[in-house]
Symmetry: C2
Subunit: 395 residues, 2 copies
């Protein structure tokens, strides 16, 4: 290292050393904090050790989706106090997966102060960790070529606002000249937004990894905001830093589905897309499955592939606008031809019965579909698997 750079580093790091004396440091010039614990620590045998410094606590628990209480729910385990007020607990070896957890300190829920990796699910923040292996690797950033993820605003005249969406373009898109790409429109559930599939759903990582090994076609993936009353995810729009709403207005009353071709037109107008049904898919989870169900039959000849993941589905026909002429629109959809109609749900999902009804409806009319039934319920753990499976069947 050259002399003057060494000098600069010395000055700078001397300053850092001062900052690092107290834990955590949050003074005026303290841009660095130090946490002494390693937590969570994923061990060689795939067990996981949790640690937290809580010298005054009487009871410390970890709650997580890896601590099953019955049918895949969140359970808890008590940490044991060790030296210097550091509590710890080590799990049994875990299956490869992306897991979520929080700490409970004397009954108060808090995040792990040693782990900066979080996910937000509507109003809940949770720490995450990944146990490597099959699924964990699929959900991790690997040393492969990466797509570009963009936050894009489009104008929606019918909803009267500019709206934010997430667009994934696959690795190589920028350097592939006039090549056109198929498009998957991937829709979130109730309380979600245009960020949900990229954070909770790990869609970026799944897409990068499946495309890299040739298991999925290079495709554009468009993730709009399905709440017709909202322009964007909480905090990303002109309404400021409001608390996320679990039941936004105008989520399942037709406005969004009616406006959907504004999104398709924007995408076709700004990206090199395959502009026919064989090059378009629409899929979504829960409410997004409901949206996909209606959107796919509302616009004939537009979407060749449909994916309903734990979908909310109507039990009977009727309604206005996009919901009208239920039977006739589905009949036309299948008469025009559907490349793939994919239905997936978990055995314990609260929407299971609605999906039984849907399958019976499809069967009774002879509409072909592919059905995937998994363990578990209405969870992102299932939706990541459904997405990973669905992507390999597209285009």
């Amino acid at each position: 290292m050259s002399g003057f750079v060494a000098d600069v580093r010395k000055i700078f790091f001397s300053f850092l050393a001062v900052l690092m004396i107290s834990v955590p440091v949050m003074g005026q010039q303290a841009i660095f904090t130090v946490e002494g614990q390693v937590s969570p620590q994923v061990n060689e045998d795939r067990s996981v050790t949790f640690r937290i410094h809580a010298p005054k606590a009487v009871k410390v628990e970890v709650r997580g989706d890896f601590l099953s209480s019955g049918k895949g729910g969140w359970g808890s385990a008590e940490l044991t106090e060790g030296e210097s007020g550091v509590w710890s607990w080590t799990s049994a070896p875990l299956e490869s997966e992306l897991y979520s957890y929080v700490f409970m300190v004397d009954g108060m829920q808090m995040l792990d102060p040693s782990n900066v990796f979080l996910m937000r699910d509507v109003r809940s923040l949770m720490n995450i960790f990944i146990v490597p292996g099959e699924k964990g690797d699929l959900y991790s950033v690997k040393d492969v070529r990466h797509g570009t993820v963009s936050k894009v605003w489009y104008d929606s005249p019918s909803l009267g606002m500019s709206r934010r969406m997430t667009v994934y373009t696959p690795a190589g898109y920028e350097d592939s000249g006039s090549r056109r790409y198929p498009v998957l429109y991937l829709l979130h559930g109730m309380g979600g937004d245009e960020d949900a599939w990229m954070t909770l759903g790990r869609a970026t990582q799944i897409l990068d990894n499946l495309i890299a090994v040739g298991k999925a076609e290079p495709m554009i993936v468009v993730m709009p905001n399905g709440n017709a009353a909202l322009p964007s995810a909480p905090g990303e729009g002109p309404d400021g830093l409001y608390q996320p709403i679990t039941r936004p207005e105008k989520s399942m009353e037709g406005s969004y589905e009616t406006s959907f071709m504004e999104i398709v037109d924007y995408v076709d107008g700004h990206y090199r897309t395959v502009r026919k049904a064989e090059g378009r898919a629409v899929a979504g989870l829960s409410m997004g499955g409901f949206h996909s169900f209606h959107i796919s039959k509302q616009y004939p000849g537009t979407f060749g592939y449909v994916g309903l993941f734990s979908a909310t589905v109507p039990r009977k026909g009727g309604g206005d606008g996009v919901y009208s002429d239920f039977d006739r629109k589905i009949a036309r959809q299948f008469s025009d031809g559907v490349e793939l109609y994919y239905i997936a749900i978990g055995k314990d999902d609260f929407l299971y019965d609605e999906n039984v009804w849907l399958r019976q409806y499809m069967d009774s009319h002879g509409y072909p579909y592919e059905y995937h039934e998994s363990e578990g319920g209405h969870t992102w753990r299932n939706w990541r698997v459904y997405l990973s499976d669905f992507l390999q069947k597209l285009f």
Copy 2:
């Protein structure tokens, strides 16, 4: 609302109602949690009320950058326990600003469970809130046209890896035909990454808002990762969910500065840029100011505008490679012509003396520069102001 949709909503919301009985709910199918408190609450008079449910706590404090302890540091205030274990405290009216805070519950630092809005600064997570007004509005998403923010990976042959960067393209970029745009390369500090300016620096909002009112030229802003040993921000690269490093290797030893034209070439090759010095600026904070200092003199005729925000600067010439021939390179830089050389620092910044030296050096050689001295120290609060000021002087 049509009949069948009403049915679906009824089923769905009945299920939600069950979920909402317990607080917070984190069961298997609990995709929604409920927090009873509103916190923080920004009041009409710009005071702010903090609340937290902590029935077993003995002492609850809020710590934040709005509670000045001396020269702008973080102070604390004690909350008072009210009914049902809800603690609260209301600040004095605050100046318009983006503020950060955490709670201390019986000495344990924790985030506000009622506020999902966070920022990460190296290893620290902090809640944020905005007090509206001049600065607060500038840092907020307003009802204006928005640029696109993309996470892009470029190949760096010299560093031997694919690397992630953030690219802002201004509103209208996609629809402006062959129009070319100037580019600001905006660099982060030690321990930061390609996300820092967009999160802590509110660069997206500042750019959108200044461009919307004509105070800044529409420009492309490129925010690379300045840690030559790392491909990306923590958790966004192949190294997985590791804890952020305050002192990454190869941050200030020349590799990054030497590789920098790979970034410029990528940007010029993939965006409609103005490919001359009058259309390029490089600016950065702290370590990023150090990088900007060296990069701007290393590549003659490349950067017409230079911004050093609380920069680390070398006190004497010498060194190898990009650091060599200090005097000669600066002489050439100013002989070629510099549109703007902008130096900004706070009176309490620990790098103040180095910047005094820099100004003396510039003065002694007759190199023109613009100097902005502010209150306060080495803080994002200052860097947001410097950026907002600098942007209005560009192109």
